[in-house]
Symmetry: C3
Subunit: 276 residues, 3 copies
Amino acid sequence: MPIGIKQQLGKILLALKDKKPLVHHLTNYVTVNDCANATLAIGASPIMADDIAEAGDIAAIASALVLNIGTLNSRSIDSMLSAGKRANAAGVPVVFDPVGAGASALRNSTTERILSEIKPAVIRGNISEIKFIAGIAANTKGVDASTEDTAFAQEEIITMAKDLAQKYSCIVAITGAVDIVTNGKETFLLQNGHPMLSSVTGTGCLTSSLIGSYCGATSDYLLAAAGGILTTCIAGEIAYKKAGHLGTGSFHIALIDAISKISPDHFQEYANIIIK
Amino acid sequence: MPIGIKQQLGKILLALKDKKPLVHHLTNYVTVNDCANATLAIGASPIMADDIAEAGDIAAIASALVLNIGTLNSRSIDSMLSAGKRANAAGVPVVFDPVGAGASALRNSTTERILSEIKPAVIRGNISEIKFIAGIAANTKGVDASTEDTAFAQEEIITMAKDLAQKYSCIVAITGAVDIVTNGKETFLLQNGHPMLSSVTGTGCLTSSLIGSYCGATSDYLLAAAGGILTTCIAGEIAYKKAGHLGTGSFHIALIDAISKISPDHFQEYANIIIK
Amino acid sequence: MPIGIKQQLGKILLALKDKKPLVHHLTNYVTVNDCANATLAIGASPIMADDIAEAGDIAAIASALVLNIGTLNSRSIDSMLSAGKRANAAGVPVVFDPVGAGASALRNSTTERILSEIKPAVIRGNISEIKFIAGIAANTKGVDASTEDTAFAQEEIITMAKDLAQKYSCIVAITGAVDIVTNGKETFLLQNGHPMLSSVTGTGCLTSSLIGSYCGATSDYLLAAAGGILTTCIAGEIAYKKAGHLGTGSFHIALIDAISKISPDHFQEYANIIIK
C-alpha cells in the first residue's frame, strides 16, 4: 500500500485548505451549482465567468482553470479558448473535461480545437470521451464514437491513457469503476467510489472542479488529479453508507457533506491505490 | 379503479429502467439540474445541448426531446425549432412545456412558432399556459392572460384539453390540483399530488422530463404522460409525509429520493385515476 | 432592543406572504435555482427572464426586480439595462447585487453603467463590492480592488455606506460578519448569521432575492433590506444548529428549510439589531 502517496495527498489537501485557491470555471449550466459547492466544500474558492470580455482576465489571476464542454455554444467556445490561452501564458493549470466528446460534431471539433490551441495540465473524462480523444490523436476514429467501450481491457485502457499523456505532456485521468490516472510514465489505479455516483448528474463535473482545486495547491498535477478523484470516490462511499438507502436526492446532499469533511485521515483510511 | 392502467404504467416503468432512454432537453437554466436528476432518478439518461450546431444532431439520436421555454432567448429559440424538426423527422417524440405562455409577447410568439412548425407528442402545462394555447387556437385571447383561470369549471377544462388534443393530434396534459391528460378521446383525471409541490421551483419542469423519459420507453404517449405526472405526484405525497414538516428544502430532496424509488407497486398502491 | 422594528418586520413578512409578490430576476446561472427556491420559500413568486425581448415587459408587471451580475455577458447586460429602466419607469423597486464588482473590467464597467442609467432601491454587496462602488463615486480607485478590505474599521464602513446611500438616494446594504444597512441617515447593524453561510455558494445572491421579495411587499426599502438580510442570517443560525455538523450540503438544505419557516416570531426571538 503506497503510504507515501496517501501522506502526500493529505499534505496537499491541507495546503489547499490553507491557500483557498481561486478556481475559475467555464462550465455547463446543468451542474454548475454543484461544481461551485464542491469547490467551496473542499476549501477552494470558485468563480464562473464565461463572457469573453472577462474570461481571460479572471483566468490569468486564478490558481486553476476548469474548462468543461457540457453545454457548449459559440459564445462559450471562444471564451474557453481565450481563457485557456491566458491561463497557459500565466502558468495557471488548466483542467479539461471533454463532456460528451464523441457525441456531436460540435463537441468533437471543440475538443480538437481546445487540445490544439491550449495545453491542459489534466484531461479528465470517462472512457468514451477519452477514447474519442485518442481517436483524434491516432487519426483512426474520426468523430465516430461507436466502438464498444466496455470491451476494452484494462491493460489497453492504461496503454491508451499513457500514450495520450505523453502526446499532450499532461495528466490523463479516466474515471469509471476503476479510475486510471497517469502522467505517461507513472500510473495510479484508484479503486474507490460507488456505482450510485452515476445516478446523480454532475459527479464527473464536480470531480474536475476538485482536481482544479488541488491543482491550485500543488504543481504535482498527477497527485492533484488523484486527489480530486479520490475525494469524490471516498465521499461517494461515505455518502452511500449514510444516505444511499434514502434515494438519489439524499445521496447527492450526503456527497457534498462528505466532500466538505474530507481530511488527510480519510485518504489513510479509505484510499485504495495501485501503482503501475 | 382502472387496475389495467396501473399495470400498464408499471410495465412501462420497468421498460424505461431497462432501456435507459436518452432524453434530450432544451430547457431553462433555473431548474435544469432538477430535470437532469429527475431523469436519472427514474432510470433514463439526460442530455442538455442547446447550441444550434448540435441540438438537432442530438435530438435525432435521442429517445425523446423536451422543449421547455422557461428562459428563452433568441439563440435557444432557433435551437428549439431545429431540434424539434429533427426529432419530428426521426420519429422522436417531443414533449413541449410552454412555461409562462401568456406572460410575455416573446413567450407567446415562441409558443405559436413551436406549435406551427413542430408536432409535439405531448403538451404539458398549467391551466394558464394551456388556456393561452387554446386562445391561440381559437384566435380569441391573443397574448392576454388576464382571464380568471380558477373560474373555469372542470368540465370546461376537460373540453378545452380535448379540443386542443384533437387540433394538434397530440396528448394534452394540464397539471394542477387534479391533473387532466387526454388524447382528445380518452381522458384521465389524476388525483394524486400535494400542494407543497408548488413551493419548490421546477416540479412542473421535472414532470415534463419524466414524461419525456416515459415517452422514450413506449409509443403510448397518453400512458407516458400519465406515468410522468403520476410519478411526480405520488413522489410528492411520499416526500410530504417524510419531510414536509422540515421545510421546502428537505421536501425538495425527498421528492428526488421518492422519484428514484418509484416502482410498479407505487402505481398500484397510490394512483388515483378516473377515466372519462 | 428595537422592539418596534422587529414588529414592523413581522408585519411586512405577513404582508409578503399575503401578496405573493412577483419578483423578476436577471441573475447568474450558478445560483439561480437557490434564488428561485428562496423566493418561493419566503412566500413570493420568482420569475427569471433574461432575453431583451421580454425582460422589460416582465419587469414592468413585477413587484420587484433583482439585477445580479454574477455571470454577465453582452446579451444579459443589455437586458439588465432594459429591465431596470422599465422597472424605474413603472415604479418597481430594483435590487442591485454587484457580484464581483472590482474583479474584472467587464464587471466594473457594467456596475458603473447600471448605476448611471438605473436608480436602484437597494444595493446589496459584500465589503469588497461596495468599496469598489464607493471608489467609482469618489473617482479614486478606478477598477482596482487591491485595497485591504479587512483593514477598514466599522466606523469607516458605516460612513462609506451612508455616503453611497445619499449619493444614489437608495438603501445600501453591506453583508458580512456584521451587516450594515443604511438609507444615508438611519443605519442598522445586524448581528445575526453564521460563518458557515459562506461555505455554500449563493447565500449572498439569495439574500438579494429575499430583499426583492420584501421590497415587493412594502415601500419601506430600509426595512425590506433589513428583513431580507435577517431572514438569511436567522435561517443560517437555525440551519447551523440543525445540520452544521453534517456538512455543507445538509446545511444548504436546512437553510432553505429555515427560510420557508421564518415567521414574525423569529424576528422577535433572534434578531439582534443596533440602530445608529
